[in-house]
Symmetry: D2
C-alpha cells in the first residue's frame, strides 16, 4: 500500500483515520459538451483528467500538454514555490497518430516529490483562511498532507485539459491570452489593447509591461522575505471569438466564464468589460455604439466586454479575476486546533508568496474550456 505509514500516532488519530472522509466528494466534472472529469490527490500516485466530447481531428501531442504544464509548474522561478513537480503527461486514450479521435481523451500525470512530513505538524490545526476547517466540518476530517482535492495540484489536470481546448479553439481562429495586471497595490494602468501580450512570458511575473513587471517582482520578493504573501488580479483576453456563443437565460457566456474563474483556488472576484467600474456609469456613456467598419458591424467602445445579453458579439472578450493572497504564510499566526484550543501555527515548507504568475495558465485553461463548450453547444443549436 503506497500511502502506508503516513498516519502514525495516538489512538485518537487512528480513530480519525478510520473515519477518513465521511462524505462523498462528487462534482469533479466541468463543462457539458467538452466535458472534463479530473481525478487525483496531491499525495496519491497520480492525477489526471478525462475529456468526454473532444472533437476529432485536433492535432495533439504529449509535448504540447507538457509545455502547458510547465507554465503552471512549481519551481519555475525564484518567486514561486521551490517544490519540484516535473510534470509530464501520458495520453491513455483518445489520441492516435497525433490527432484526437473523438473518443474519451484520458491524460495521466504521475505525482512525485511528496514531502508529507512538511505538513505533519498541521494535522490538528486549522490554518487561517485554509480549507482545513471547512473540510473538517464537511467531511469529518481533512487531508492535511497538501489538501487532497482542495490542493492547487488539481489545477494541473485543468491545465492539461485546457491545452486540448486551446487546440480546439485554434482551429476556429480563437486565441486566449491572460496576464498579471495587478500585484498588491501595483496596478498595470493600461488597456490590454495598448500592451504587447506576446511579451507576457518574458518575465517571471507574467506581466506584459516589463517596467511594471519589475516592480511587481520586487514587491513579491520583498513580501516573500517577510514570510508574507500577496494577492493580485489577472486579466484575460479572448480574441477571434465568433458572435453568437452563449445562451440568453441562465447559461450566459460571461456567467459560465465567471463560474470557471471563481472555481480556481484563491479567486474572490470576477468582472467582465466595464465590470464594477461600469456600475458607476450612465447609459449614455456606457452604451457601446454600433458602427459599420468596412462591412463588418462592430462597436465603437467595448464596455460590454464582447458579450451582450449573454451572447458574444464578435468583439474581444476580456475580463478580470481577483486573487486573494495565499493563505500559508511563513510567520506565526494565532488559530485554534480541532479541540477548539488556542494554538499558534507557522507555515513551513515550500509555498508561493504570490499565486499570480502560476495562475495565468489556469485562467487561460478554464477560459478555453468554457469557449470550447459553447462552440460545441452552438453547433447543436443549428436548425
Amino acid at each position: 500500500m503506497r500511502w502506508e505509514g503516513i498516519f502514525k500516532g495516538t489512538d485518537a488519530r487512528l480513530q480519525i483515520k478510520r473515519n477518513l472522509y465521511l462524505r462523498r466528494m462528487p462534482g469533479n466534472s466541468f463543462g457539458t459538451y467538452f466535458r472534463i472529469t479530473t481525478f487525483g490527490e496531491s499525495h496519491g500516485p497520480a492525477i489526471g483528467v478525462v475529456i468526454d466530447g473532444c472533437p476529432p481531428g485536433i492535432s495533439l501531442t504529449e509535448a504540447l500538454i507538457d509545455e502547458a504544464l510547465a507554465r503552471r509548474r512549481p519551481g519555475q522561478s525564484r518567486i514561486t514555490t521551490q517544490r519540484k513537480e516535473p510534470d509530464t503527461c501520458e495520453f491513455l486514450s483518445g489520441v492516435m497518430e497525433g490527432k484526437s479521435t473523438g473518443t474519451p481523451l484520458a491524460i495521466l500525470i504521475r505525482n512525485s516529490d511528496q514531502r508529507s512530513k512538511d505538513y505533519d505538524h498541521l494535522a490538528d490545526t486549522y490554518r487561517p483562511s485554509h480549507a482545513d476547517f471547512t473540510y473538517q466540518e464537511k467531511y469529518g476530517i481533512r487531508d492535511h498532507r497538501g489538501g487532497g482535492r482542495s490542493s492547487a495540484r488539481e489545477t494541473a489536470a485543468r491545465v492539461a485539459a485546457g491545452a486540448v481546448a486551446m487546440a480546439v479553439l485554434k482551429t476556429e481562429g480563437i486565441h486566449v491570452q491572460a496576464y498579471v495586471s495587478a500585484v498588491g497595490d501595483i496596478v498595470l494602468d493600461a488597456s490590454y489593447q495598448d500592451l504587447d501580450l506576446s511579451r507576457t512570458d518574458e518575465n517571471i511575473i507574467r506581466c506584459p509591461d516589463q517596467e511594471t513587471a519589475e516592480r511587481m517582482i520586487s514587491l513579491v520578493n520583498a513580501v516573500r522575505k517577510e514570510g508574507d504573501t500577496i494577492g493580485g488580479v489577472i486579466t484575460c483576453v479572448a480574441s477571434g471569438v465568433p458572435s453568437g456563443l452563449g445562451e440568453p437565460v441562465f447559461d450566459k457566456l460571461h456567467a459560465d466564464l465567471g463560474k470557471a474563474m471563481l472555481s480556481i483556488n484563491a479567486a474572490k472576484g470576477f468582472e467582465i468589460g466595464s465590470g464594477f467600474h461600469g456600475a458607476g456609469m450612465r447609459g449614455s456613456t456606457h452604451n457601446d455604439i454600433f458602427e459599420n467598419r468596412d462591412g463588418k458591424i462592430v462597436t465603437r467602445t467595448n464596455h460590454s466586454g464582447g458579450i451582450q445579453g449573454g451572447i458574444s458579439n464578435g468583439m474581444d472578450i476580456y475580463f478580470r479575476t481577483a486573487f486573494k493572497p495565499v493563505a500559508t504564510i511563513l510567520r506565526p499566526q494565532e488559530t485554534v486546533n480541532s479541540a477548539g484550543q488556542k494554538v499558534s501555527v507557522e507555515g513551513k515548507g515550500r509555498h508561493d508568496p504570490c499565486v499570480l504568475p502560476r495562475a495565468v495558465p489556469i485562467v487561460e485553461a478554464m477560459t478555453a474550456m468554457v469557449l470550447a463548450d459553447h462552440l460545441l453547444l452552438q453547433r447543436i443549436n443549428r436548425k
Copy 2:
C-alpha cells in the same frame, strides 16, 4: 392564433418572420437538485417555472409568491418603469393544502399589458448594448417586441421559484437579504453589519441607510429626467448558512453564486468577501484568524465572505454584484440597422432609469436557489 397581426408590413419582414429563430434556445434550467426550468416570452400568453426536486412539507401559498413578485414588479414606484404587470401566480401542481408535496411544482404567471407597438420602430435597428445584434447573429432574427427570452420579464419566473427556495431555507434557519449599496457614484460606505437590513424596503431604492437612500433616489430622478440611466451595486448577505455547503473542486459555493448573479440581466461583476479589494492585501492581514467563541469556532474577521476552499464555514456569506446602466435611454443615439446603415435610435415607452431596486429580489431569489441546491446536495454526500 393569439399573436396574429403582430408582424405586419413588407415582404422582407414576412421573410424574416418565416425564418423566425433559426436556432434552438436550450439552457432554461438552473440548479441540479433544486432544479428550475423557466418558460415564456414577454409577449406570449404566459411565463412560468417548473421546480423539480422541491423538498416536501414546505409551507407555500400563492399569496407568498405574489408578495415576492410584487417586489420585482414594474410600476411599483416613481423611479421604476411605469409599465404595469400586476403579476399573480397560479400553482399548477406540487402544492396541496398549503404544503409542497415533493412532486414537480409548476407556477404559472399570465402576461398582460403588452404594448408591442412601443417596440415596432425598433424592428430593424440594433439598439446599443442591447441583445438585438447578438440575437440576430445567433438566431437569425430577434424578437424585437420586448426581447423574448432575453426580456427581464423572464426574471419574474426566477423570483417565483426563489420564493419557494427561500421557504426551504427558512426551515433550516437560513436568511437571505440583499440591498442596494451603490447607485452611480453614490456608494453606501458601511459594512452590512452596521446596517439595519430590515429597513431595506422602507424606501423605493431599497437601501437600508435612509439618508443614502434619499441621495440615491434624487440621483435616479435626475438621471431619469435627462432620459438617461445609471448602474449600481447590490450587496447580498446570507446568514445562518451551516458550515459544509459547497464542493471543493468545480462547484465551489461562491463559484455557483457567481454564475447565478452573472446570469441576471445587466450584471457585469461579482465579488465575494474581500473581493477585488482583497487582491491588494497581504496574507498576514487578509487571513481570517480562527477563534473559539463560547465553544463555537468562528473567524475574527470575515474577508473570506463565509466561504473557504469553496465550502461555507458558518460565518455570514456576503457578496456584491455590479449592474451596468440600463441600455435603453430616452435620447437619440447613433447606431446601425440590420443592413449596416447608420441610423439614429431613441428609446420610447416605459423603461427603468435604474434597474437596481427591482433587481434586489432577483439577487435574493438566485441566491436562495443556489443555497437550496447545495443544501440538498449536502444530504446525498452523507455516508
Copy 3:
C-alpha cells in the same frame, strides 16, 4: 384552497396528511437535447410539460396536440375506462403563429372529472400489484386519489410532448407507428412488413389485422365482464430513420428506447429485432447479410432491428414492449392494510380492462422523443 376537504376523518388520517410525502420526487425530466419535464397530479388543477431544446420552425398547433391526446384519452371506446378526460391543451410559450420558436415550449392540460370518492375506500389498503405499498415505503404516504404522479394520467403530458417530437421527425422523413400485436394469448402472427399499419386505428383495440382485432376485442370484453384485466404486447416500427443515430457505449439507441418503453406504466419487457427469439439462434443464421440494393447498402434480413452496435443502420427499427394486465380488477382480492392486517379489496370506479389500445400512442410518443433526442445529439457530433 382547491383540494380542501379531500382528506377527512380520524386524527390518524390527519397525522398522515400532515406528513404527506416525506421525500422529494425528482426525476421528472426525460431526454437530453429534446428535454421534457412533466408536471401535475391526476387530482390537482392541471398537468403539463415543458420542452427545452425544441428545434425552431416546426409547424405546431394546439389541434395537432389535441388529436394525439384523443388517442390516449379514457372513454374513447367501450373497451377502455369510461372515465371522461376531454383533454384539450394550451400552448403557454414557445410557439408563435403556428411555428415553434426554439424557446421552451410549455403545454398546459387542465384536469377535470376527478372523482376522488371512487378511491376513498382504498386509503389504508395496499392494492395488489399497485404502487400503494412502494409509495408508502418510499414517501411515508401515498396519494390514494388516483395515484398522484404514478397515475397513468401523467402519460398525457408525454403524449403531448411526443406529438411535438413527431412533428420534428416528420421534417426529417421519419415515421413512427405502433400497434397491438398481442392481447393475452391472442398473438398477431405476422411480421409488421406484411401488415397495413395505416389501418391500425380502424378498430378500437388498435391491431392492424382486422380479423385478429375482432378476436382481441372479444377477449377484452369477456375479461371485462369477469371483472378481470389482461395484458399484451405492442410492436412499434420507426421507418425512415437515417443511419448513424445512437452512441456506441452507454447511450446505444436501443438502450435508450428500452428505458423509454420500460418507463411506461405496466411495461415489463422490451426486445428489439430478434430479441429473446434471437437468443436461441446461431450466428450463421442470425447475422444480417449486407447487400447493395441499387446503390444503397441494406441488409437482407433485419434481425438487428435496424440498430447495430447501438447505432441505427438505416433499416426499419422495430421492437416489442410487454404490458402486464392492469392491477385494478373489479373482484375481491386478499391483501393487507397499512397496519399489516388482512383485508379484502375490490376495485370500484372506471378502469381499463386492457391498457393496450391506449398505450399505443404512449409507445409512439416515447419512441419519437428518443429519436428526436438522438437526431439533435447527432448534429453536435459533427466535426
Copy 4:
C-alpha cells in the same frame, strides 16, 4: 508515437486515416450519483474508468478488482476466446489504505496482446451484424482493429467499476448474482429460487445447474467446431434490496436496469419479473397478493420482479437479458465492402463462440451500478 505503422498502404487508406473519426463520441458516462466515465480503445495503451461520487469508507483493494476482471477475462476457459488479456488494475486515486476516500476513484487497466494483424484483412469490409457499417455511416471511418470503443474490451472498465459498486452494496446487505439460464435452445427450466446460485462459477458456462451446464457446454463446443456462434439468456437476481429505490415517473428502477442491460454488447432484450410471459396473463392471477409474514409485509407471488410502480418493494429483484449470437463466425459469409461491391468475409483470430459466460460479470456489474446509483439518490430525497 505508439500506434505508428498500424495503418499502411494505399493513398486511399491514408486519406481515410487522415479523416479518422469525423465525429465526436460523447456519452461515455453512466449513472448520476454513482457516476462512471470509461475511456480507452482496445488497441490503445490502456483502458480505465473514473468513478465520481463513490461513497467513502468502502473497503477496496486492487486484488478485489482484479478478481472481478478475471471472471470477464478472455482465455479463461476452452469455450471462450483464446485471446490473452491478463488484466490487472491500478488505483490512480480515491483509495487510501484500503478504503475509498469519497474522491474520484480512477482505475487504470493497461492493454497488452493486441494483434492488430488479425483484423487487417477486414479494413474495407462490412462484417455482417457488426458495427462496421454503422460506424462508417456515423463517423466516416471505423476502427477495424478490434472495434475501438465498440469493442467488448470497454466492458472491462465496467466490470472494474461494478466491483466498486458491489462493495458499496455489500455494506447495505445487497447481493447481486447472475447466471446463464439459456444457451441456444437449452433452457434452464427452473426458478432462481430452486437453484443454488453459489455454485454458478463451478462450471465454465456459469449455469448453477450442473447437469444443464454440461449440456450447454457441449452445445457451445459443437457450435465452436462448426465455426459458428450461439446466443442465450442471462438471469440476474438482486436480493436484500430495500424497498423504496426507484423514481415513479421516468427513472423507474426497472427502466434504468433495462437501459443498463441493453447497453451491453449483443443484448437484444430485457424483461423483469413475469416479463413477456406476464403479457399473456390476467390480472386476477398476475397480481401479487400482499401478506403479513411475521410482521413484514411481503407478496405471496413475485410476478412484479421486486419492483412496483418503478419502485423496489423489498422482494427479490430478478430479470432476464437476451444476448444474440456473436457476429464473428469462422465461416465465409457474403457481404459488401465500403465500395458496395459483393465480397466474402471469414472471421479469423480468436473469438468467443458464445458470449454468455463472460457476460455474466458484466450483467452483475451494470446491475450493481444501477442499484448503487439509486441508493445514493434515495438519500437525497429524504426530507
